[in-house]
């Protein structure tokens, strides 16, 4: 899969539609609610300027908010993770740094890196989202559990996307 701008735009639109019209309508035990639209942020190229990353994060979150009527809750969470993404990437950087012309996908990096990367971003995103939804700390344990289970499911789904649309590293 190449790294052209059209692909990112198409992914941007499809993920919002998938999130709003499919995933949000599936209730997993009333507790689990995966958010897979952050896949767009995860897959943005390494070279994306930080300010653009922050802005795009805000944009996708705000669009999801417009569709779901939860103005600015998703936007707050996605702005947060897109701001943090460069630091999370730095945290899990391989010894020889990220290669030029590589992308943050399973095509270039192995599964354990992908899981660590996507799980941290999902966890931060879901935490921010669920706390903003609750807006107080009374059900701490419940929200924490919801965050953990939901981010695991989100990572599972996003890994499936990777396996479908990106050739994994070991087959290369």
């Amino acid at each position: 899969m190449n790294n052209r701008i059209e692909n990112h735009i198409i992914r941007f639109i499809l993920l919002i539609l998938l999130q709003v019209y499919v995933i949000n309508n599936i209730l997993f035990f009333n507790v689990v609610n995966p958010y897979i639209y952050i896949y767009f942020i995860l897959l943005l190229p390494f070279q994306t300027p930080k300010w653009l990353l922050t802005l795009l994060g805000f944009l996708i979150g705000f669009l999801v908010d417009l569709f779901t009527g939860s103005i600015a809750i998703h936007a707050a969470a996605t702005t947060f993770i897109s701001f943090l993404r460069p630091y999370i990437l730095q945290l899990f950087a391989p010894i020889d740094e990220y290669q030029k012309n590589s992308q943050p996908t399973l095509e270039f990096y192995d599964l354990s890196w992908w899981i660590k990367y996507s799980l941290s971003v999902s966890f931060v995103h879901h935490s921010a989202l669920f706390w903003l939804e609750k807006f107080n700390f009374t059900h701490f344990g419940f929200v924490l559990l919801k965050t953990i289970v939901s981010s695991c499911l989100s990572v599972f789904l996003m890994t499936l996307f990777q396996l479908f649309f990106n050739k994994p590293l070991n087959k290369k």
């Binding site: 103005i71 707050a76 701001f83």
Partner: protein, 271 residues
């Protein structure tokens, strides 16, 4: 200016991030009823607790003044009450004989045999020696010496202080004596042993002098006994006044005190 500009350029991402987050939170609170209510209540609580804090500090300002005012008002009310005494269900208005002057105890020495108190009223406030001193709980003592602004008080727990006292239930009277040991109790002497006594009987002032008005409470009988061959009881009276905590007192000024004394003096001269 240039440094500021450079700062903005260098930190553009953080500034962008923070302003977007700020915008998001504002929108969240503005457009979601649930979050709106919670934050509204939070800010109400927050400002409310600040109001409370400010009040809890400022309410003590002026407490001293308030206390002085209340003490003066109490003294006035006591003067009024003293005009009325209940005597066998008939209410008699007496002459306004006694004034009560409020005072504060500025020094209290109560751990020796020669205990004394110092109060903050003196000859300037027309305090004279031999005036009675009472507290809201009961009898305190007698003014001993007066200077311009202060007066010393011999409390009833001084070995040299004696107050004429009476048992409220049966009207037998005696004199208080302090043995110099326990500052919470005194002895009541001169009660003949044929009198029926009960533990818990109240002891009051007799009113046989101009020092104290009649009926000011002293304490309750906590124990009594008598030795063979002695005509009088040994009565221990537990005091109402706690001398370890004494703070505000009233000085009793009897308007007829001088007249009474001259008459008494004349009698003594004749004898």
């Amino acid at each position: 200016m240039r440094a500021l500009l450079r700062f903005f350029i260098r930190q553009h991402n953080i500034i962008l991030f923070l302003s977007l987050e700020f915008l998001c939170i504002l929108l969240t609170i503005r457009y979601n009823d649930y979050q709106h209510n919670i934050s509204f209540n939070f800010f109400k609580e927050f400002t409310g607790s600040i109001h409370q804090l400010v009040f809890s500090v400022t309410k003590y300002i002026g407490t001293v003044e308030e206390n002085v005012k209340l003490a003066e008002e109490n003294a006035k009310l006591r003067t009024i009450i003293n005009q009325y005494t209940i005597n066998d269900t008939v209410r008699i208005k007496k002459d306004n004989i006694n004034d009560f002057i409020p005072a504060k105890v500025v020094y209290a020495n109560i751990n020796t045999a020669n205990n004394y108190l110092v109060i903050d009223k003196g000859s300037k406030d027309s305090i004279l020696p031999d005036m009675g001193v009472i507290s809201p709980n009961g009898v305190v003592g007698i003014v001993k010496d007066v200077s311009e602004n202060f007066a010393t008080v011999l409390p009833i727990i001084n070995v040299n202080a004696h107050v004429s006292a009476r048992i409220k239930t049966n009207d037998y009277f005696g004199t208080t004596i302090w043995d110099g040991k326990n500052s919470t109790q005194i002895n009541l002497a001169d009660i003949p042993y044929h009198v029926k006594l009960k533990i818990g009987d109240t002891v009051i002032t007799s009113g046989f002098s101009t020092i104290f008005p009649e009926g000011i409470e002293i304490g309750t009988i906590s124990s009594f006994d008598y030795n063979e061959g002695n005509d009088f009881y040994n009565i221990v009276v537990k005091l109402f006044t706690d001398f370890r905590k004494i703070k505000y007192v009233y000085i009793v000024r009897n308007k007829h005190s001088l007249e009474f004394k001259t008459l008494e003096q004349r009698l003594k001269n004749e004898q």
